[in-house]
């Protein structure tokens, strides 16, 4: 049913015997660590994003525990003022830039292509580059801990406190340059995923059939695309102030320090939606699946997401209500802040309506999704109270605000992301996580979370300011601070339980392709998916395409299983696998999307599948090797994304320590990496015959939109 019958052909952009062959590309057979370093497979990159983000989550969580221990009792001396300032700065920076953003990127990377029926992202090497730059940026920032002190100006880095005069050490420099590196990662990722979602959808996947997670991620990527340049500008100005003695934020020289705040929050508020929209997308996938009903008001959900994306640009000054903007400006931002609650509220009611009269299976992903709705609502309501500007002048910069954004970002984003982890884990890894342990983790999370952050509302209203490393005992804050510290350890137990769950679930039985009886395309392919994702590019006929292949509606609108005639997905996929196993030669249909030998080596997927990833147009010799896939054109791995990314850190170390030749060396490193990247051969060197017959170097379009994303050299 998914045969593409009209394969117009086009020559690939760079013939494989391109004379400028700087270096051999790594072959698809590269194993082990180098297989991961050189991979351009969006799924392996997604896994690396996820693992790295999770490690940073542990670091950020450890920092949170240190903060909570320090504040657990008044006049505590567990951390010094300086250490506390470093730890709270790195806690915020880590959780935002090194955990929630990359974990959202992990899901987007892994899921967008398989949700839209593509074989890879549009720019596979750029995708790998984005990941390596993120990792380099994160490690660069964390290297500050062993190089004299971590950033200590808060995640918001307000000038003039972050200027050299008031922060003379290198702490802030690591923050400035680290965020610049991370910005490059986010920008490349955004460009790549936007192009992927717009250009590489399978036939029939119109925008309004696109899964809601892909939609929300797409909106978040657009926000990134426009927000990152703003922070980049701000950071450049701050870098010039600090490194070259410029005066962009120096009030003594007549500048306006509020310029920093405007720039930072013009980035920073869309950033909040960058952090929450992917989680909203996850929840919008999970609730329908486990309620056995379609998402209530799909179009409204899409448009409210877009509306949030637009309105997110008009609320930044609500972070600055106490800065003296004047009554007119504050009134305008007060109104916009309140009204962004409307599209958000619509989403909450639509999630509730999705559950209404459903048949709700209470599983770990569903619990986390419902937890998201419940906790995010609290954050949304306290958000509205911030819009009441006069009240905000009492609340801002107190623990009330800390409570608010933890309800949004932990109760929201983190619950949503854990919902996604439990939901998609079987797809990515091939077996389930323990649902029992998952439920335990949920209850530990929701109890610990409310124990920790619920009292913050009270503390804030009782006047406890943010970012204080200590407080005297006669302020009435002792009890709730202690209570919150206990709560934070309950959360920590939940995190440990999750790690234990991942560890002990290793031996869980393999699951099929659709263990949740889900609705979207990613569940129509094996778990874990083979490198090429779709043996045949699907033709999409409906929103929730997989559901419609499995079910239809009776005259009352109840879903009923289709007759086997209508090819339930399971049989169909088995057929593919069988065909794949039996495949000794060119597939009969010859449409370029033929089944392949990947599954011959077992469950396929993961590292195993990468063996098969590099076949370029090898129509004439597919019989030569069992692992060879005749028609699926996948990009070749490359050293250059990883190599190039390291040069960025070299530049930044050189700049920080003012060893200019090191900075120049780093620049040449990046430049060289980019040249090698653009000039490296389009294909891996494993198939010498390819060179001999350039005339057959035609790209079968049967590989569908994915063909555009193949390793055709200069394509990315």
């Amino acid at each position: 049913m998914t045969i593409v019958t009209d394969p117009p052909v086009r020559p690939s952009l760079v013939p494989p015997d391109e004379p400028i062959r700087l270096l051999r590309r790594p072959t698809g057979y590269t194993k082990g660590i180098w297989g991961w370093v050189t991979t351009v497979d969006h799924k392996k990159i997604g896994i690396m994003y996820g693992v790295a983000a999770f490690i940073f989550f542990l670091l950020g969580g450890l920092e949170a525990l240190l903060l909570r221990i320090q504040l657990g009792s008044p006049e505590n001396t567990f951390l010094s003022a300086d250490t506390y300032n470093q730890v709270f700065t790195m806690h915020g920076t880590t959780m935002i830039f090194l955990f929630v953003m990359p974990l959202s990127a992990a899901f987007a990377n892994y899921m967008i292509p398989i949700q839209i029926g593509a074989r890879d992202v549009a720019f596979p090497r750029l995708n790998a580059f984005g990941f390596w730059v993120f990792l380099v940026g994160g490690l660069f920032m964390y290297s500050s801990f062993i190089l004299g002190g971590a950033p200590n100006g808060g995640w918001f880095g307000y000038a003039p406190n972050t200027l050299k005069l008031y922060s003379p050490g290198h702490n802030i420099d690591f923050w400035v340059f680290g965020l610049q590196i991370l910005g490059i990662a986010s920008l490349t990722g955004a460009v790549n995923l936007i192009v992927t979602a717009i250009n590489m959808r399978a036939p029939g996947m119109s925008l309004f059939r696109m899964p809601i997670f892909t939609w929300m991620s797409l909106v978040a990527q657009f926000l990134l695309l426009f927000a990152i340049p703003v922070i980049t500008v701000a950071l450049f100005l701050l870098m010039f102030d600090r490194t070259f003695g410029a005066n962009f934020f120096n009030a003594q020289a007549g500048s306006d320090p509020l310029l920093w705040q405007h720039l930072f929050w013009l980035f920073g508020h869309p950033e909040v939606y960058i952090l929450i929209l992917p989680a909203m997308g996850i929840v919008s996938e999970v609730i329908p699946v486990f309620s056995r009903k379609p998402l209530f008001g799909y179009q409204v959900m899409v448009f409210s997401g877009i509306a949030i994306g637009f309105m997110g640009w008009g609320v930044w000054a609500h972070h600055m209500f106490a800065t003296g903007l004047g009554p007119v400006a504050t009134s305008a931002f007060s109104a916009s802040t309140m009204f962004i609650a409307v599209p958000t509220g619509v989403k909450i009611f639509n999630w509730l309506a999705t559950m209404w009269r459903g048949k709700i299976r209470i599983t770990s992903p569903m619990l986390f999704a419902v937890g998201f709705v419940a906790m995010f609502t609290i954050g949304g309501l306290s958000g509205v109270t911030h819009g009441v500007v006069p009240a905000d002048t009492q609340q801002t910069d107190t623990y009330y605000v800390v409570a608010h954004f933890h309800y949004v970002l932990f109760g929201g984003s983190v619950f949503g992301l854990f919902s996604g982890i439990y939901y998609w884990y079987p797809k990515v890894v091939g077996h389930m996580l323990s649902d029992k342990l998952g439920k335990w983790q949920f209850w530990l999370f929701i109890i610990g979370f409310n124990m920790t952050f619920g009292p913050f509302h009270i503390l804030g209203l009782q006047g406890m300011p943010r970012r204080i490393y200590t407080y005297p005992s006669h302020r009435g804050w002792d009890f709730w601070n202690f209570f919150a510290t206990v709560g934070s350890f309950v959360i920590a137990v939940g995190v440990l339980l999750f790690i234990y769950n991942v560890w002990t679930s290793r031996k869980n039985p393999k699951v099929g392709f659709d263990p949740w009886d889900a609705r979207t395309l990613e569940w129509s392919i094996p778990s874990p998916p083979p490198e090429y994702n779709f043996a045949e590019i699907p033709v999409v006929t409906a929103r929730d395409d997989l559901w419609h292949r499995k079910y239809t509606e009776d005259d009352k609108g109840r879903s009923i299983l289709r007759q086997p005639v209508d090819a339930p997905a399971e049989a169909e996929t088995e057929a593919v696998v069988r065909a794949a196993v039996d495949d000794d030669g060119p597939p009969g249909d010859g449409d370029g999307a033929g089944p392949n030998g990947a599954s011959a080596n077992g469950a396929g997927g993961g590292a195993g599948a990468s063996d098969d990833g590099d076949t370029h147009d090898g129509d004439s010799h597919d019989g030569d090797e069992e692992r060879h896939e005749p028609h699926i054109h996948m990009p070749s791995p490359s050293y250059w994304p990883a190599v190039t990314s390291v040069g960025l850190a070299v530049i930044c170390y050189g700049m920080i320590y003012r060893v200019w030749f090191v900075a120049i060396l780093g620049g040449l490193w990046v430049l060289g990496g980019l040249y090698a990247w653009s000039l490296e051969p389009a294909t891996a060197p494993e198939e010498p015959e390819l060179d001999a017959e350039p005339s057959t170097d035609l790209e079968p379009v049967g590989s569908g939109p994915a063909g555009a994303g193949s390793g055709s050299g200069g394509a990315d």
Binding site: A81, Y158, P160, Y166, A251, S255, P257, L258, S291, R292, K293, P294, Y298, V300, A322, G324, S331, S334, M338, F339, V342, G345, F349, N350, L352, A353, M355, W356, R357, G358, K359, I360, V373, T377, V384, T385, V388, P390, A391, D392, T393, Q394, Q395, T396, D397, I458, L461, Q462, P465, R466, I468, Y469, T470, Y471, H474, R475, G476, W477, G557, R558
Partner: protein, 343 residues
Amino acid sequence: MRTGRWLRAQTARRVRLGALAALAALAVAACAPNAPQTTLDPKGPNAQTISNLIDPVFWVAGIVFVLVEGMAIIFVIKYRDRGDNSPEPVQIHGNSRLEVGWTLIPAAILVAVAIPTIATIFKLSNKPANPINVTVTAHQWWWEYNYPDLGVVTANELHMPVNQPLEIKLVGADVIHSFWVPALAGKTDVVPGQNNHMSMTGSTPGTFLGQCTEFCGLSHANMRLKAFVQSPDEFKAWVEGQRLAATAPPGGSPAEAGLALFAAKGCSGCHTVEGVSAGKVGPNLTHLQTRTSFAGSMFPMNPDKLSAWLQNPPGVKPGSKMPNLNLSGDEISKLVAYLETLK
């Protein structure tokens, strides 16, 4: 059917209990005694206006909270898969009327919140009639108060007569700080290069605590303040006391030796004592002993704390701009004796 009803009753009971518990917890917390920096107990018209504005919003938010959480909990329990082969749910794809409804109703509620909010924003931005002018200068990490019309300069502890507004000009000396006395008014940032204004009035005599709320570096936590709302007579007496010059210590006393050290050790370069020195870096010490606390209102004013402070200021207050002068015990006791005379 019967189990369904039982479950519903059970759910309703659970929701009621939960809501009651939450309300009780909030009530206990809100009325917690000994929370001298609370925003929930306004003692002046500005803070009272804010409180009157936000209280109904909290109630509306509470109702929405109970509604949404209640629906979430009830739906999960009521519509859970009981594994009883009950028919598949009807595939409801949406309902435009409902969705328009829950777009417009929240919007209407928000309009109802926005109108009084904006009115209050403008009301609070009005300058009061017949105010006392005060210039508050925020330093890392202490507050300087200058009453230009009264000729008074002091630090960390603000005095004001009851029911007479202060018109405050906020001047930043270094980084951004934020001036806040929750019982009297909302906070306003002190932005260097931009002199913000705020006004506040105390309607009840008393001592109210405040604190810098914008992260301003190492000792941000130690940049505190007190506001004394006094009867007009008390305030007048305080002002007159502050206007006097410092009295010279009696000859031959340890305090006189302390005065000599005050000059010799360079204290006078940073601190003003009327008639003795004119330093402008640190707080004015002329009437130090009329204050109840020092060093950003971090320590209570007593000889022990002053001694500990002089021994190593950055050691007891991280990042303090007052350096460790490596004073001997004898020098410290003489200096403290002198400081004790600054009444």
